[in-house]
């Protein structure tokens, strides 16, 4: 009996924070760090896949910036001033890789863990709650995305493709864009029934990657199509990054940011409602 009372101090319950008092009991145990730790340990066995994520945007930057750039010369930048082609596509590739990484993790990876590995069922059998899982998974995705974005921005700096100190803000902007795409992707995945539905994800991501003013300016489209392109999220991410790395920062930046605030909020609300339904019914 006395042995129980003499538990080491580490095993004491964690301090009760604000979030813990706000949320209903059982949803959040304040232990999302354990989920991040689990992801980082699990990533050791797939380190090659994670490590290779650095290189895909770099290959695109070298091939397109150097090869296509030599054919096209300069293109009009965000303020109409001519910009070298490499400096034009680099922020676009940064935004696109933030989207691709986040969507991949939040759809394929999430579906695999949810339906096949049954990872979340196993986690819920421990003191962890669904909010721990959501915060932990998103936190890990952002750590990963942050490493990729830092690496890519460093390469951009080394190649002289950054012309403004505003580019420092490109890192948090990339993380926020990734968060919004991840939230929306996770919400969409919670409605998916089988792998066949993931063709729809491809169908959304690939055209956005190609047509969101990533590789050529918006001005090449006829006016009606310009409106259509501007309706999609990646266009706003590209415009945000391009404004920051070239230093053309104006009020329109807030508009692009607002798009992602709405998208992140919508995605988070839908995803958390759906997850509560899927995991705790």
């Amino acid at each position: 009996m006395s042995a129980i009372r003499q538990m080491p101090p580490e095993a004491a319950p964690p301090r009760f924070g604000l979030l813990l008092r706000v949320l209903p009991p059982g949803l959040y145990a304040g232990r999302s760090r354990a989920v991040i730790l689990r992801s980082s340990i699990a990533s050791r066995s797939v380190w090659l896949a994670i490590f290779s994520g650095f290189f895909e945007p770099l290959f695109f930057l070298v091939a397109m910036g150097q090869g296509l750039g030599s054919l096209v010369g300069a293109v009009p930048g965000p303020d109409g001033q001519p910009l070298s082609y490499a400096a034009f596509i680099a922020p676009g590739l940064l935004a696109a890789s933030a989207m691709n990484g986040a969507v991949y993790d939040a759809t394929f990876g999430f579906f695999m863990k949810l339906k096949y590995a049954k990872l979340y069922d196993a986690m819920l059998a421990t003191p962890l709650g669904p909010v721990d899982i959501a915060v932990g998974e998103i936190g890990w995705a952002l750590i990963r995305g942050g490493m990729y974005a830092t690496g890519f921005l460093t390469v951009m700096l080394a190649l002289g493709l950054i012309s403004s100190p505003w580019a420092l803000l490109a890192l948090p902007a990339a993380l926020f864009v990734a968060f919004a795409f991840a939230a929306l992707g996770m919400a969409a995945t919670s409605f998916m029934r089988s792998w066949h539905d993931f063709d729809l994800v491809q169908l959304a991501v690939l055209p956005m990657f190609l047509f969101s003013a990533t590789f050529f300016p918006l001005s090449v489209y006829p006016p009606a199509l310009q409106w259509l392109v501007q309706a999609f999220p990646l266009y706003h991410a590209v415009a945000l990054m391009r404004g920051l790395t070239t230093g053309v920062v104006g009020a329109s930046m807030l508009g692009h940011l607002a798009y992602f605030v709405v998208m992140a909020a919508f995605g988070t609300v839908v995803a958390s409602r759906r997850l509560r339904f899927l995991l705790l019914r």
């Binding site: 896949a49 895909e56 150097q66 054919l71 010369g73 491809q202 690939l206 190609l210």
Partner: protein, 275 residues
């Protein structure tokens, strides 16, 4: 007591090539029901790239007037269309030669079921590769049909380009099938294959711009890439600019890769299925 009657075997072992066709038939039977899932990756992807780069980016290039020196006077869309045919074939080949092969060995174990019948491992490997070739032909033909309606390709040269694209896809597929047949893990290595082999190959093989625009150090890498040889052949055939001896060289390189790949695949299938 009556004499024991000799039981006559009613089954008949088929000649090698017909057995390989049985494997193709099995794959086709599955594909007939599931082809829709492949339409996006095999057909829509090259078409979207064609619209984005051929039309969107092309409008920048054609307006600049710098492109004429390397496209030989045709528009960028026409320059790009045959190259994307080859990229589509190689990408489809890359997908068909990785996960489905490992799955048939490891997760679904259909290859073990097939070789429990009179079909040998060599015939199975041959049938599997024949199926991939058929699959590449189908999606390349569908792409060509759409692109011809676009007006981005014309003339009989495109049929030659189709053959070149399938040859190039198979020259990449056969060694990759041998590699996949040797994998024991969960297939995470394929992510690295896609990122370090397939993606760089599609970017640095003269599809979007001639490799002479690349830094001198990277150019020799393009020469070992089957995609560069396939692109040169297909573009030459479609635009009518192909010269005899370079074409012979490209075909010889691709055929050699294909032959080595087929031999390696048969060997890996035999080792794994008869151990």
């Amino acid at each position: 007591m009556t004499a024991v009657e000799a039981v006559r075997c009613t089954g008949r072992v088929l000649p090698g090539w017909r057995t390989a066709l049985l494997v193709v038939e099995e794959r086709w039977f599955w594909y007939r029901r599931n082809w829709r899932a492949t339409a996006i990756s095999s057909l829509l992807q090259p078409l979207l790239f064609l619209v984005a780069f051929g039309v969107g980016f092309g409008s920048l290039i054609d307006a600049g007037g710098r492109a004429v020196q390397f496209t030989g006077g045709v528009s960028y869309l026409v320059y790009l269309a045959p190259a994307l045919l080859v990229i589509g074939a190689v990408q489809t080949a890359a997908f068909e030669s990785t996960y489905p092969i490992l799955s048939a060995f490891k997760w679904q174990r259909t290859y073990w079921a097939v070789t429990a019948t009179p079909v040998t491992s060599g015939q199975l490997a041959g049938g599997q590769l024949t199926w991939i070739a058929l699959r590449l032909t189908l999606s390349a033909a569908a792409y060509l049909l759409v692109v011809t309606l676009f007006g981005a390709m014309q003339g009989l040269g495109i049929l030659v380009a189709l053959v070149c694209a399938v040859l190039c896809g198979m020259a990449f597929s056969a060694p990759l099938v041998a590699f996949s047949a040797s994998q024991e893990g969960e297939g995470t290595v394929f992510a690295a294959v896609f990122r370090f082999v397939v993606v760089p190959m599609t970017l640095f093989s003269g599809t979007f711009f001639p490799i002479s625009q690349l830094p001198g150090l990277i150019q020799p890498l393009a020469w070992i890439s089957p995609l560069w040889h396939g692109t040169e052949l297909a573009r030459g055939a479609a635009l009518g600019t192909v010269a005899l001896w370079p074409a012979v060289g490209h075909v010889a390189y691709l055929s050699a890769l294909l032959l080595v790949g087929v031999l390696l695949s048969r060997w890996r299938f035999r080792v794994r299925l008869t151990q």
